[in-house]
């Protein structure tokens, strides 16, 4: 799921395609944040992601990832990486994260217009963005 902004496809194929990642900033707000990461995972699992991957358990949902096992193994530097295919689920997750003021950083990859529209509905002000400029070179 890395480099989500380099995925290529038609605008239509990205319409209901969102990658959501969350993590603390190492050295700034990561100490003692395990409960916040665990709560983020609970909110995501409650909404029903299309998939979620874990560097900690080396699994994803297609491999039978156990949510409780993943939550139990969470550490202060565990990144959260998942994807959704329904806009409404992304809206609900961001709403809960905002309401509960967990304070972990969150990035959402998707068509810019769609992500901005989600942020507007949730009441978030997008901060910054990473934009793909394509590929060069030879293999």
């Amino acid at each position: 799921m890395t480099h989500s902004m380099h995925r290529v496809g038609s605008d239509e194929s990205f319409q209901e395609d969102y990658v959501v990642m969350s993590r603390p900033a190492m050295g700034i707000n990561h100490v003692g944040c395990t409960p916040k990461i665990q709560r983020t995972l609970e909110i995501i699992f409650a909404e029903g992601p299309t998939n979620i991957g874990s560097l900690t358990t080396q699994e994803n949902m297609t491999m039978g990832l156990d949510p409780q096992k993943l939550i139990a193994k969470t550490e202060d530097n565990s990144p959260v990486m998942c994807c959704f295919h329904e806009r409404s689920k992304v809206v609900n997750v961001l709403k809960r994260l905002k309401e509960e003021e967990l304070g972990l950083s969150v990035v959402v990859t998707g068509l810019l217009d769609n992500v901005q529209s989600i942020c507007q509905e949730v009441g978030l002000t997008p901060h910054s963005v990473n934009i793909s400029l394509g590929f060069h070179g030879q293999d």
């Binding site: 707000n29 994260l97 990859t109 998707g110 992500v115 901005q116 910054s128 934009i131």
Partner: protein, 240 residues
């Protein structure tokens, strides 16, 4: 990684798992091409080897081969960043770190990809040119750590031939240098010895617009509409 030749039964189940195609099937056993293996560890983690023949030899963790694992195995942490994976936290935590401020752009070039990889020395084609432009490479980036001198962009001799899944070069430029630096990268790209992808990181303007998109289009660089957006939930929030 290696395959114990005494144990291997040559079933070939491990072959499709290697993202570098570095596992070769012989007459009776399979072997890992030691020069092509990037030590990503996917074989040892994911293959259900019936005789448990795949193992990590002690040489994997010895310098300079040890850099292969830290750049290629997403489960290993870089000692100098504390972050798992090839790069830094880039835009993911920019609302808290303010690494990329208004008036500046972050640029990241990732050399190699799963399936092709890169020799660490191959990134010099671009890093030397960028150094001539007096680019200051990100000090917290693992690849900068492997430069002989970040002011020259030259990679340390003892790691130049090490093959990794990919390595990311990161730096920040003042916004007035955008066209000059990006044009330089595009002009040099045809000489690159390996595949690379690149990205730009920027703050949204207060009105939510991204003027960088039009500036890039004016010099012939197309941007993707599929973007990675930091939605501003991190706390404490740092505007700049």
């Amino acid at each position: 990684m290696k395959i114990n030749q005494e144990l291997c039964v040559g079933c070939g189940q491990c072959l499709p798992y290697c993202p570098m195609g570095a596992i070769e099937r012989g007459k009776d056993t399979s072997r890992i091409n030691w020069d092509e293996c990037v030590e990503c560890g996917i074989c040892i983690r994911q293959v259900k080897c019936p005789v448990k023949a795949i193992y990590e030899p002690k040489e994997t963790l010895e310098w300079p081969r040890s850099v292969r694992k830290v750049f290629s195995d997403p489960t290993s942490k870089h000692e100098n960043t504390g972050v798992r994976g090839r790069g830094t936290e880039e835009v993911k935590t920019n609302d808290v770190t303010a690494r990329f401020k208004r008036g500046f752009f972050g640029i990241a070039l990732e050399f190699g990809r799963p399936g092709v990889g890169t020799r660490l020395g191959d990134v010099e084609m671009i890093t030397k040119v960028l150094a001539e432009e007096e680019i200051v490479f990100e000090s917290a980036n693992p690849l900068t750590f492997l430069m002989e001198d970040p002011r020259t962009g030259i990679i340390k001799a003892d790691v130049r031939n090490e093959k990794v899944l990919s390595g990311i070069v990161e730096f920040v430029i003042p916004q007035e240098n955008l066209e000059r630096v990006c044009t330089k990268i595009v002009d040099t790209a045809s000489k690159a010895k390996c595949i690379f992808s690149w990205t730009i990181i920027t703050r949204f303007e207060p009105d939510g617009t991204l003027p960088v998109v039009a500036r890039l289009e004016n010099i012939g660089i197309k941007t993707s509409k599929n973007m990675k957006v930091n939605v501003g939930l991190g706390r404490p929030l740092r505007e700049d």
